[in-house]
C-alpha cells in the first residue's frame, strides 16, 4: 500500500512533476504578470503603486500558510514521530522565509509612496518580522545540530510555539490601531477590492503557489538523494 511512498518510486514521481510544472510555469507567469502590470486598472487613489499589492499579498499569504502547515506537520511529528514529515517541513521552511521577506520588503517599498515612510513600528509589521525570525530559527536549528533526531525535536517545538504568532498576525489589524490597513478580502462577507483587481491577484497567487511547489519538490528531491547517499532504504 505504501509502495508509492517508497523513495525510488517517489523520486520518479517528483521528477515527472518538476518537469510538468516547469513546462507550464513560465507561460502562466507571463499571463499573470501581464494582467497584474498592464491589463489591470490603476487605483483611484494610489495610482500605479497598487500593482505592488499583486506580489505583496500572495507572498504574505504563502508566508503565513506555509508556517501553519509546518506547525501542523511538526505537531504530528512531535507526538507520533513520523519522520517523513520532518523532511517535508525542512523543505518548506526556506520557501516560507523567502516569501515572508518578500512580503516585508515589497510592503516597505509600497509604504514609502503611500504612507510616507518605509518602516513603522506597528503591530502587523512587527508580528510579520517575528514570523520571519521564527523561520530563521527553524532553519538554523537544522543547520546547527548534526544529530537529526535532536534537530527534529527542537525545530518542531519552535514551529509549534511559533504558530501562536499566526493568529496574532492575522488579527493584529483588528485588535490594535495600526498603520497597516485591515484585510480587504474576507472569508465571510464581500471583499473591498474591485473584481478587475481580484483577477490578477488570484492569478499571481496561483503562479506563486506553483513556484513554491517547484522549489519544494526540488528541495525534497535533494533530501531523498541525501538519504540514499547514507544507504538507508527508509528513514
Amino acid at each position: 500500500m505504501f509502495n508509492i511512498f517508497h523513495n525510488s518510486n517517489l523520486f520518479k514521481w517528483i521528477e515527472k512533476l518538476i518537469y510538468f510544472i516547469n513546462s507550464i510555469f513560465f507561460i502562466l507567469l507571463l499571463v499573470a504578470l501581464s494582467f497584474a502590470l498592464i491589463l489591470s486598472p490603476a487605483d483611484y487613489l494610489q495610482g500605479d503603486s497598487v500593482r505592488i499589492m499583486y506580489v505583496h499579498v500572495p507572498a504574505a499569504w504563502i508566508g503565513l500558510a506555509s508556517f501553519s502547515f509546518i506547525a501542523l506537520l511538526s505537531l504530528i511529528n512531535f507526538i507520533f514521530k513520523i519522520k517523513y514529515f520532518s523532511l517535508i517541513t525542512k523543505s518548506i521552511a526556506p520557501i516560507g522565509l523567502m516569501f515572508t521577506c518578500i512580503a516585508i520588503i515589497t510592503g516597505s517599498i509600497w509604504g514609502q509612496p503611500t504612507w510616507g515612510t518605509f518602516w513603522a513600528w506597528d503591530a502587523r509589521i512587527i508580528s510579520m518580522s517575528i514570523l520571519a525570525f521564527f523561520y530563521f530559527l527553524f532553519i538554523c536549528v537544522h543547520k546547527l545540530f548534526s544529530d537529526q533526531e535532536i534537530a527534529d525535536r527542537i525545530s518542531s517545538i519552535i514551529a509549534i510555539f511559533g504558530a501562536i504568532n499566526i493568529p496574532i498576525i492575522k488579527y493584529s489589524v483588528n485588535w490594535w490601531n495600526t498603520l497597516h490597513q485591515p484585510a480587504s478580502i474576507k472569508i465571510l462577507g464581500s471583499s473591498t477590492i474591485h473584481s478587475s483587481m481580484l483577477l490578477p491577484l488570484f492569478l499571481m497567487f496561483f503562479v506563486l503557489i506553483l513556484y513554491c511547489a517547484l522549489i519544494f519538490l526540488m528541495k525534497y528531491k535533494t533530501e531523498i538523494i541525501r538519504i540514499k547517499k547514507k544507504n538507508l532504504k527508509r528513514l
Binding site: 513603522a120 490597513q181 483587481m197
Partner: protein, 142 residues
C-alpha cells in the same frame, strides 16, 4: 491503540501550549496601550495621564473642509467622528494625504484639543478600485 509514550507527549505539549497561549494573552493585554501605533482623539480625551512633553501619534480621519494650506503651515482637524483634535504642521505630506482620508500625525500635544505635528503619515484604507468606478460612485452619492 495509542501508546503511553505518545499520550505523554501529547499531554505535555497540550499543557505547555495552553500555558504559553494564556501567558502571551496577558502579556499582549498589559502591553496593549504600547502596541497601539496611534491614539484616536477619543482615547486622548479619556486618558488622565496625558504627557505633553512626550512624542505621541494621533490618528483618524481628516475632517471634511478642515484642511487649510498656506505657505508656512498646514492646518487640519483629525476626527474619529466623536471627538476632534486640531493639528498644525509644516513640511511635506505624502501623496495620499487629503480630506476624508486616514491620517497619522506624529508630534506633541499642546493641550487636549491642539497638536503640533512634525511628521504626517497617510493611512490607506482597505478599498481598492479603478478611478472610473470612483467617479460613478461619487455621482451616485450626489
Amino acid at each position: 491503540m495509542l501508546t503511553t509514550k505518545v499520550k505523554k507527549r501529547a499531554y505535555l505539549l497540550a499543557a505547555t501550549l495552553t500555558v504559553s497561549v494564556v501567558a502571551i494573552f496577558f502579556i499582549l493585554k498589559s502591553l496593549s496601550s504600547n502596541i497601539l501605533y496611534f491614539k484616536s482623539p477619543t482615547e486622548i480625551k479619556n486618558s488622565n495621564d496625558t504627557n505633553f512633553n512626550k512624542k505621541i501619534r494621533v490618528g483618524g480621519m481628516v475632517k471634511k473642509n478642515s484642511l487649510e494650506i498656506d505657505s508656512e503651515e498646514i492646518k487640519f482637524t483629525i476626527t474619529d467622528f466623536e471627538n476632534e483634535i486640531m493639528v498644525s504642521y509644516s513640511g511635506t505630506v505624502p501623496n495620499l494625504f487629503t480630506e476624508e482620508k486616514g491620517v497619522v500625525a506624529e508630534g506633541k500635544l499642546q493641550d487636549k484639543k491642539f497638536f503640533i505635528a512634525d511628521r504626517i503619515l497617510a493611512k490607506h484604507d482597505e478599498n481598492y478600485m479603478p478611478p472610473e468606478l470612483k467617479k460613478i460612485m461619487k455621482e451616485n452619492v450626489k
